[in-house]
Symmetry: C2
Subunit: 311 residues, 2 copies
Amino acid sequence: MENFADRLIAKIRQKNSCVVVGLDPHFKLIPDTVKQKPIISHKPSLEYAARVILEFNIQVIDLIAPHVGIVKPQIAFYELYGWWGVWAYAETIKYGKYKGLIVIGDVKRGDVPSTAEAYADAHIGEVHIDDIVETAFAADAMTVNPYLGTDSLQPFIQTARKHNKGIFVLVKTSNPQSGEFQDLTCGKKKLHEIVAEKTNEWGKDLIGKEGYSAVGAVVGATYSHEIELLREIMPSAYFLVPGYGAQGATVNDIKYCFNSDGLGAIINASRSILYAYNTSPWKEKYGVKAWKYATQEAIIKMNAEIGDMLL
Amino acid sequence: MENFADRLIAKIRQKNSCVVVGLDPHFKLIPDTVKQKPIISHKPSLEYAARVILEFNIQVIDLIAPHVGIVKPQIAFYELYGWWGVWAYAETIKYGKYKGLIVIGDVKRGDVPSTAEAYADAHIGEVHIDDIVETAFAADAMTVNPYLGTDSLQPFIQTARKHNKGIFVLVKTSNPQSGEFQDLTCGKKKLHEIVAEKTNEWGKDLIGKEGYSAVGAVVGATYSHEIELLREIMPSAYFLVPGYGAQGATVNDIKYCFNSDGLGAIINASRSILYAYNTSPWKEKYGVKAWKYATQEAIIKMNAEIGDMLL
């Protein structure tokens, strides 16, 4: 298997899209037509919610797979339904991979080294039970939190190397108060700039044929001013960019996430694609019953917007 | 239901112990006598590993419950076995609560606000599915990562308030390189001191009758020099202190975690209790077959050591 960044770039070229669809299921927003499908139980329960979520994800993946090559389930929205929800998370990853997509587990894990090793093995590695080898979630990549330092990230980096997987380090997050700690000035640099320097270092030994590393960075589209400098500090890191769409960032905000080769960033949208039926102009045009048309048009529109900007 | 800190203190007094037993199952280290118990499947598989882990936890909880009032399952070691592992995690929490223990979910979650809300509801809150209310994991408290800032922690704080649960914010972690970012000097203070100040603020509205807050802090026993100042910055935060035992910290290192009232800290040990059979003097005395005696003596010894220090 190839270096993760090379696989990512090949997929971006194949689909002609650098969009990541965030699979963030909100039970309330899932159309009733989907909810009627799971036959095992129609009574509200954790199992029922999990089955609905999986059915929704399968329908979404079928819809978007011709247009995008990357999906990113956010595990929080699955943990919400307990271990049944985590079952739906695991099955979603499986289905995404079966459809040829690259799946990024948005899990934002981080812990002391021995624990980080278990997280890495769980999400992008493998587990040994007596004489057999199994995989728990087997995503292609995962997001990680850097607060605990280099030794806490080494297990993720080593597991990524061993299995040709990727990691994305939280550098500058998209939420309104991300600057509270991330923008603190430490000496002459901001904390997130120091984390960016380290991320660049962590990725140096994992650079693929295309010049990009399997160690990427999460950089919020909502902080367009910081992006140029971060691109400079981490020239070979792939940026995973949240904040587009529902969180307010536009195509102008993400311009500097890309290198001059037109590569270097994947742009995430979740709610604005999954629940496009709920926003203009599709709300008026289609409504919830024809949600699939809304989602399909939303993804095609987002591809076109970013494609035009990259021309 | 009472404020989490008041419940915690009542439990500490009831058991006369401020020890937390970390339920970190390592499949390889679980004694064979335990492995032979789960009858559903004896073939190595994720399900089998999860059933073994749950059986081990039940036996450990039964052993330690007369001596300690708090357990802390580390979810990484359950995620390692996929959704089956997460099932064992959920069942472990249930069993711990059934035996009257306070259960801290060591999950170190942290994300943008809308996602953090899902994590909070999953681990210490509740979830609404149509017209029913369910709980996913329902621990008494959870650990959280502060890197994303105040808005990312508000959902945890609000959920803790609503359900009388607790949170423990990672302030200064126990791993060797925790200082890499956490000790950076920002202005006149170290990053972890600034996080400590915020943690103290976040907890101000959640102080119980005993003067302690439901917003606590994770402070590694391995950094005894930092502890005195952190105790001063966060006078009403309960400290969850990892690093005792297997990670090398001793009773002298944790002295300053406590206030003069003998309260203010709970001390975690995982491997040194669960796998006591594997360390001296119990290795020689009992060996793996009599692992229960080793675990029991180890917990009694740890209680005594800390009890003597607090006299």
